[in-house]
């Protein structure tokens, strides 16, 4: 019998402890990969999403809040800009496109965003524009809405359905507006936060019954495409450093990067916990094999009596630990997929950001290899005990 056959037989002989230990390795490996992938893909997606715009203008305040509100549709608006200010931005020669948005209403918790139709001419990704897959774009003069694909799916809305908007960003059934909107179209999925939004004409949102008449022409933010990078630098200087009326969040990715840099210590703690779990799992291999050594002393002595060398016995035990780690690492992909599927669903539900669990990440190589290495290291201690097993003492009683 080959060394490998002896190892496999030993694993089968101790099937229960092999399965339990491999399961703990699978959990550790799956968790390790999930933590890394969620962190990396979340950062990549949040800093990569700019919806096709270079920057965002909003009321004086936090750039992060402005970006989260206008690009990710997550936060409350930091304040309003007047229609004149929007006009001033749109007329600026450094601005190629200016799209005003107004927020403040929802339907069943999904945001209703008032916007002008030029949003639909912007490429949110190279060669990709927001498009209506079913129905048609809203008429700015009518109470019509186009619904993001994810929102439509969750709300069960289809073309021709009607709904009443609710006041505020959070759903409160007592705050229903009297206006009735008709779904004119369903958006094509863009895998961006826009999929969670219900788009209506900006004038419709501004003039919704119950809204303050004095701010009826205000906008929550203005999304801009610039004519060049130098324009962004000049406008940053002009509006953020010298001015005190508006905030210009530019570049959008930098703003999000700062957020991730701020929460970096939390990420580090998460990673440390995942690594700790991996170490504990490796410890479980050590404990499981080490504890079985007493009952296996006779078996080892018999193998030695048949001519097996100490190093052979040592290798069998280390390979056994590696085998358990390999089984666990393999099953870890299943655990990873389950964790990631749940995490991706929650993140998409809450933010509209789409994670790709099946996309290859370096951690998918090094985490299983690390578990294998830790398994081998964990096997060294029981292997040393097996190595030292006295043959004559454990074979038969000395007469």
């Amino acid at each position: 019998m080959s060394l490998l056959q002896i190892v496999l037989r030993s694993l089968r002989q101790h099937l229960l402890s092999t399965v339990i230990t491999a399961f703990s390795i699978a959990l550790a490996s799956g968790l390790l990969m999930s933590v890394w992938v969620v962190k990396d893909q979340a950062r990549e997606n949040f800093t990569g999403v700019d919806s096709g715009f270079d920057g965002v203008f909003g009321a004086r305040g936090s750039k992060l809040q402005l970006v989260l509100n206008s690009i990710f549709h997550l936060e409350a608006s930091p304040g309003n800009l007047s229609w004149e200010q929007y006009g001033q931005i749109a007329a600026d020669r450094r601005v190629a496109t200016a799209v005003p948005i107004a927020v403040g209403d929802n339907y069943q918790g999904y945001r209703i965003v008032g916007v002008t139709t030029n949003l639909f001419n912007v490429e949110y990704r190279e060669g990709k524009k927001y498009a209506v897959s079913n129905g048609y774009l809203f008429n700015p003069e009518k109470k019509q809405a186009v619904v993001g694909s994810f929102a439509a799916e969750r709300l069960g809305l289809k073309v021709g359905d009607t709904f009443h908007p609710y006041h505020g960003l959070f759903f409160d059934e007592n705050k229903q507006h009297s206006e009735t909107y008709v779904v004119s179209g369903i958006m094509e999925s863009s895998n961006t936060p826009s999929d969670r939004v219900i788009w209506i004409p900006i004038a419709g949102l501004q003039n919704m019954a119950g809204h303050n008449a004095e701010t009826a022409t205000d906008v929550s933010a203005v999304l801009v495409q610039l004519r060049g990078k130098s324009s962004g630098m000049m406008m940053n200087q002009e509006f953020n450093l010298q001015g005190d009326v508006m905030t210009f969040a530019w570049p959008i990715a930098d703003t999000m990067s700062k957020l991730f840099n701020k929460i970096a210590p939390v990420e580090m703690v998460l990673r440390a916990v995942a690594l700790l779990v991996a170490l504990v799992a490796a410890g479980s291999i050590l404990a499981s094999i080490y504890n079985s050594m007493n009952e296996r002393r006779r078996e080892i002595a018999i193998l030695r009596a048949l001519g097996a060398r100490r190093l052979t016995i040592f290798s069998v035990v280390v390979l056994e630990a590696c085998g358990i780690a390999a089984l666990g690492a393999l099953a870890g992909f299943g655990v990873y997929f389950v964790i990631m599927s749940i995490a991706a669903w929650i993140i998409r539900q809450e933010t509209g950001i789409v994670l790709s669990p099946l996309e290859f990440q370096p951690v998918m190589t090094w985490a299983p290899l690390a578990m294998l290495g830790l398994g081998a290291l964990a096997g060294l201690v029981p292997a040393a005990k097996a190595y030292r097993t006295d043959v004559a003492e454990n074979l038969t009683p000395i007469s």
Binding site: I6, Q13, A305, G307, A308, R309, P397
Partner: protein, 230 residues
């Protein structure tokens, strides 16, 4: 001679700091294909003597030469190699591995030496009358059948010397006689010498060459002899 032993001494330390000599053999030899029985009762150092010959234990002094190789002077790895290729060992308690089938137990007997040969393993088991039990686990066999698997395993590596330590000690008289006959026949068929240790008169009576271990092993003649550690 296949086996030559000269001035062999092996002692064990006692808990109170003394060394107790359990093997003290000035001379012993065995020719190739010779079958010899050693008469030894409990406490005569018979297992230690066989373990020294097998290279499982290292003597304190003296010389053991097996098939021209000085096993007593070899490194532990060298002794392991020699045991794997030259020696078959039948234990009183059989020492089969319980998670392995009959065939696999026999295959283990050759795995560390000449290499596993499934056909030979099957042939040996069939010769032992276990052709219908090839895939059975030891726990599914009778004591006599387990003993026959142990014999097949001892012969698996085509040894030049088979050591048998009370091989029939756990069998009833009828099975014992049948089993002993089988051991002797198969050793002869495979060209292996046999050195068997037993205290059973019926077993010893079947051998032409019977030697008293108490006469060979001076320590056995005076088992309580103690000497202070240097």
């Amino acid at each position: 001679m296949l086996l030559n032993i000269e001035n062999l001494i092996k002692s064990y330390g006692t808990p109170d700091g003394f060394a107790q000599t359990v093997v003290d053999v000035s001379e012993f030899s065995l020719a190739a294909e010779q079958q010899t029985a050693l008469c030894g009762t409990s406490g005569t150092g018979k297992t230690t003597f066989l373990n020294l010959i097998a290279g499982i234990l290292q003597p304190d002094s003296g010389r053991i030469e097996l098939d021209g190789s000085p096993i007593s002077a070899a490194s532990e790895a060298g002794r392991d190699r020699l045991r794997a290729r030259t020696i078959g060992y039948i234990f009183q308690t059989f020492n089969l591995l319980h998670g392995y089938s009959c065939t696999e137990n026999v295959l283990l007997g050759m795995s560390f030496g000449p290499g596993a040969d499934r056909r030979r393993a099957r042939g040996l088991l069939e010769r032992m009358g276990l052709g219908q039990r090839l895939d059975h686990l030891p726990s599914q066999l009778s004591t006599g059948q387990q003993q026959r698997v142990a014999v097949a395993r001892a012969l698996a590596n085509r040894p030049k010397l088979v050591l048998a330590d009370e091989p029939t000690g756990n069998l009833d008289p009828a099975s014992s006689a049948e089993s002993l006959g089988l051991i002797r026949e198969t050793c002869e068929e495979n060209g292996a010498a046999l050195l068997l240790v037993s205290h059973d008169r019926d077993v010893l009576g079947q051998f032409d060459d019977v030697r008293d271990l108490a006469e060979i092993n001076r320590a056995a003649a005076c088992p309580s002899a103690m000497e202070a550690r240097p």
